[in-house]
C-alpha cells in the first residue's frame, strides 16, 4: 500500500492510534532518545539520531526475568515475570536501526526463542523514516548492505516529501495501521512516485563514508587474528562501553540476582546489557580473563560484527549507523579500522 499523508494530518493519525503505546524520538537537553510519548502531537520527526538505538524498547537495558522468595529454609518460590503484551508503535525509526532490529530478531527468535524479546517484538509496529540527508557525517549504511530508505525490518516506511509524507506499508500490520485512519491518506500521483525515487537515489549519494571490499575484509580478519595489528589500533581505546551500548545490534547481556532482603530471602533475577569492552566481560570464576587487554577486546568487537556473525548468519552484525564513530571519546573509527585491515600486510 502506498499513500500520501499531509504533514498537517500526521498528528491526527497519531491520535487515532490511541489504543497503542507510542514511542518516538524525544529531545532532552541536547540528547535525543526513544521514549514513550504521552502527547503524540508533540512528536518531531526532524531529528539527527538518538544516542541509544530503538533496541532499548524491545531489549531494555534492564529486564526482570523472575522473582524469588523463600518462606522457609526448604522452599523457594519462583515467579516468572513475562512482559505485558501492550500493542506499541515506534515512530521515526531510521533504516539502519530497523535493520538492526531485524538482526536482533534473528538472534532472539532464531534457534531458541527469547520470550522476553519476542513478546515485545510481536506487539510492536515499526514505522520508519527514510534519511533524505544522512543524519550523521559518519553514516555508512550502504557499505554494509543497507540503504537510507531500506524497508528491512520495518512495517511502514515514510519519506519526507516536503509538505507531506510518502507512506508505504511493508507488512500487513503496517497496512492495518494506515487503514485505521484511511480517510487521512490520499493516493499518490505518478509524478510523486517519480519524485520519491529521485529523493531516495539522491539520499544514497549523500553518504560520505564507504568501506571498500567488505567481503574481503570479512574473510581476511581470521588471518590477522594473532598479529600486532590489534595492539596498534587499540592504543587510544579507553575501554568504555559507549560503542557497544549505542550499537543497534550489540546484544550481549549479563544475568545477576539482585537480592532485596537476605532473611527471609527475597530478590529478582535481572538481565542487563553487557559489554565486551568491560574488564569483567566473560571473566571466568577462576580469575582467568579470556580477553585480558584492549587489543583483544577491540578485536572481539570487530570480529563479532564482521566475521563470526557473518559465518553463522551470512550477514554482517553492523548496520552502518555510525554511532560508535561519532560517540567514541577518543575518535576510534570503525570504517578506518576496517580499511586498515584491508591493506594490512603481516
Amino acid at each position: 500500500m502506498q499513500m500520501i499523508l499531509s504533514k498537517m494530518n500526521f498528528s491526527s493519525w497519531l491520535k487515532k492510534l490511541n489504543s497503542y503505546r507510542i514511542f518516538a524520538p524525544v529531545k532532552s537537553g541536547e540528547v535525543w532518545s526513544y521514549e514513550l510519548v504521552e502527547k503524540p502531537e508533540n512528536i518531531i520527526l526532524d531529528y539527527p539520531n538518538t544516542i541509544i538505538p530503538p533496541k532499548k524498547v524491545l531489549f531494555p537495558q534492564r529486564e526482570v526475568l523472575l522473582e524469588f522468595e523463600s518462606s522457609s529454609e526448604q522452599e523457594i518460590k519462583l515467579k516468572e515475570v513475562i512482559p505485558e503484551e501492550t500493542p506499541s508503535v515506534i515512530f521515526g525509526i531510521r533504516s539502519c536501526d530497523a535493520s538492526g532490529l531485524a538482526k536482533l530478531e534473528k538472534i532472539f527468535k532464531g534457534g531458541f526463542e527469547d520470550l522476553y524479546f519476542s513478546k515485545r517484538k510481536n506487539q510492536t509496529i515499526l514505522v520508519g523514516l527514510a534519511c533524505n540527508i544522512p543524519p550523521s557525517p559518519d553514516c555508512f549504511c550502504t557499505s554494509v548492505g543497507g540503504s537510507p530508505y531500506s524497508k528491512d525490518g520495518l512495517d511502514i516506511l515514510m519519506t519526507d516529501m516536503g509538505d507531506e509524507y510518502y507512506v508505504e506499508s511493508v507488512t500487513e500490520e503496517g497496512e492495518k495501521l494506515i487503514e485505521s485512519a484511511i480517510g487521512l491518506f490520499n493516493d499518490p500521483e505518478e509524478n510523486v512516485k517519480k519524485e520519491l525515487e529521485k529523493i531516495h537515489l539522491e539520499s544514497e549519494k549523500k553518504i560520505k563514508r564507504y568501506i571498500k571490499d567488505i567481503d574481503k575484509i570479512s574473510s581476511k580478519l581470521p588471518e590477522i587474528f594473532e598479529t600486532e595489528f590489534w595492539d596498534k589500533e587499540s592504543l587510544s581505546c579507553i575501554l568504555c562501553g559507549i560503542c557497544t551500548y549505542s550499537c543497534p545490534v550489540c546484544h550481549c547481556f549479563d544475568i545477576n540476582d539482585e537480592v532485596i532482603c537476605t532473611f527471609p530471602l527475597k530478590g529478582k533475577r535481572v538481565r542487563t546489557w553487557d559489554n565486551c569492552q568491560f574488564p569483567d566481560f566473560t571473566m571466568h570464576s577462576s580469575g582467568h580473563n579470556p580477553r585480558p587487554d584492549k587489543a583483544s577486546r577491540l578485536r572481539q568487537r570487530i570480529m563479532h560484527k564482521f566475521n563470526y556473525f557473518n559465518e553463522n548468519c551470512m550477514e554482517l552484525l553492523c548496520t552502518g549507523c555510525g554511532r560508535c564513530i561519532s560517540k567514541c571519546p577518543v575518535g576510534i573509527d570503525i570504517v578506518e579500522v576496517l580499511e586498515k585491515v584491508r591493506v594490512y600486510e603481516k
Partner: protein, 343 residues
C-alpha cells in the same frame, strides 16, 4: 603562543636520542575537526603531531595502560614514555606520583603552556556553529580562535567557546615537566568555582530533583571512569565480579565479595556509582573535565567533582596535584583539621 614546530622538534630529538619508548600526543582526525590521541614511535611520525584548541584529551590516562602492558611483558623496555601535557593534565601526573602509582623516571613530561587560552567545549561550539561544517579550529592572535568551515575562516573570541574548566583554571602552565614549551603567562581568574554558584544557591530538594533527573539518564557505559586518569583501581566497585579474583581464591572468599553496585541502571545504583566515584576523587580530581566531556548523555559530572574540590580547598586548604612530595589529602591529618562535618 606555543609553536607546533617546537613541539615536533622536541619530540624528534627525544626519539632520536632514544630517551623515550614512544610519545603520546595529539594528531588530526581524518574525518572530523577534533584531534585524537597519537602514539608516536618513529621520528617520521612526529610530523603527524598537532597542537590546537581541540587537544582536549588528558593523555595522562594512558600511563595506566603502559603500566599494565609493562607488567605483562617478560622483558619490558624500561625507558619512559613521553607525554604531552597541559597545565591541568600535569597535575594529574603529580597525583599519580604522590600516590606512588607511577615513578618519576617512568615518564618524560613535555609540558605545553595554555598561556592565555585553553581548549574548546563542544557544547558551546554547537550553539554557534553547525558542527558538520567545521573543518578545523586553530589558535589565533590575541586570545582568538580561528574556525575554518566550508564557507571560510571565522575568528571568534576564545572565551565564547572555551571550556568552562579552562575559564575556572588556575594552572595554565604545567606544574611539573621535563621540558616546557610556551610561556609562563599570568592569567589570574578569580572565577575558580564559578560553575558551582548556580548549583549551590538552590534548595536541598531542588538539588535532589536535579541529580535524580541527571543520574537517571546514566546508561552505565563507565566512560567517565574509563577516561579518568585517577580511576586506576585494579578492582572497581562498579564491576560485577571482583577483578582481584586469583586462581587460588576460594569459593567462600568469592561469595563474601561485597557487590557495592548492581549492574541495573536504576536510580539507586546510578547514585551509588556516581557518589562513590565522586568521593574517591575528593582531593584527587584535577578538573581536566574529561568525565563530563565523554558522557554520551550529558550528565554534568564536573559539578560533583568541583564541589569536592571546593570542600578540600575551603576545609583543608588543599589543592590536588600541585606537589608530589606533599602527603595526599585523605592520607594525612593535622590536629587543627576542621571537625564540623562529624555529626
Amino acid at each position: 603562543m606555543v609553536k607546533l614546530d617546537d613541539i615536533k622538534k622536541e619530540c624528534k630529538s627525544i626519539l632520536e636520542e632514544g630517551k623515550v619508548k614512544y610519545i603520546v600526543g595529539y594528531k588530526r582526525n581524518n574525518n572530523y575537526y577534533m584531534s585524537i590521541p597519537a602514539f608516536i614511535e618513529k621520528i617520521e611520525e612526529t610530523d603527524q603531531l598537532i597542537w590546537d584548541p581541540t587537544c582536549v584529551y588528558n593523555l595522562v590516562r594512558f600511563l595506566r595502560d603502559e603500566k599494565l602492558r609493562k607488567e605483562r611483558q617478560k622483558t619490558p623496555d624500561t625507558r619512559p614514555i613521553g607525554v604531552i601535557v597541559k597545565g591541568c593534565d600535569s597535575r594529574a601526573i603529580n597525583v599519580l606520583l604522590q600516590e606512588k602509582f607511577i615513578k618519576r623516571e617512568n615518564v618524560y613530561i613535555i609540558g605545553v603552556a595554555c598561556e592565555k587560552s585553553g581548549v574548546i567545549e563542544k557544547k558551546k561550539l554547537r550553539k554557534k556553529f553547525n558542527e558538520k561544517n567545521i573543518k578545523q579550529i586553530e589558535f589565533g592572535k590575541d586570545n582568538n580562535f580561528i574556525i575554518t568551515t566550508e564557507k571560510g575562516k571565522t575568528t571568534i573570541s576564545a572565551e565564547e567557546i572555551l571550556a568552562e574548566r579552562c575559564i575556572e583554571c588556575n594552572n595554565n602552565t604545567p606544574v611539573i615537566y621535563d621540558v616546557l614549551l610556551g610561556e609562563k603567562v599570568e592569567r589570574s581568574l578569580s572565577e575558580h568555582f564559578r560553575s558551582l554558584e548556580k548549583f549551590e544557591s538552590i534548595s536541598t530538594e531542588e538539588k535532589w530533583n536535579f541529580w535524580k533527573k541527571e543520574l537517571d539518564k546514566c546508561i552505565r557505559c563507565y566512560a567517565c571512569r574509563s577516561v579518568c586518569p585517577m580511576c586506576y583501581c585494579d578492582e572497581c566497585i562498579a564491576d560485577s565480579i571482583s577483578l582481584a579474583v586469583k586462581p587460588d581464591t576460594t569459593a567462600e572468599e568469592k561469595a563474601q565479595k561485597i557487590r557495592w553496585v548492581e549492574k541495573s541502571p536504576v536510580s539507586s545504583e546510578n547514585f551509588s556509582y556516581h557518589l562513590i566515584r565522586a568521593l574517591h576523587l575528593a582531593g584527587r580530581c584535577i578538573d581536566c573535565g574529561e568525565c563530563e566531556r565523554v558522557c554520551p548523555v550529558d550528565i554534568p559530572l564536573r559539578y560533583l567533582n568541583k564541589k569536592m574540590e571546593k570542600e578540600a580547598s575551603e576545609q583543608f586548604g588543599y589543592t590536588a596535584g600541585l606537589d608530589p612530595e606533599k602527603p595526599a589529602l585523605v592520607s594525612d591529618f593535622k590536629d587543627d583539621d576542621p571537625q564540623d562535618f562529624i555529626i
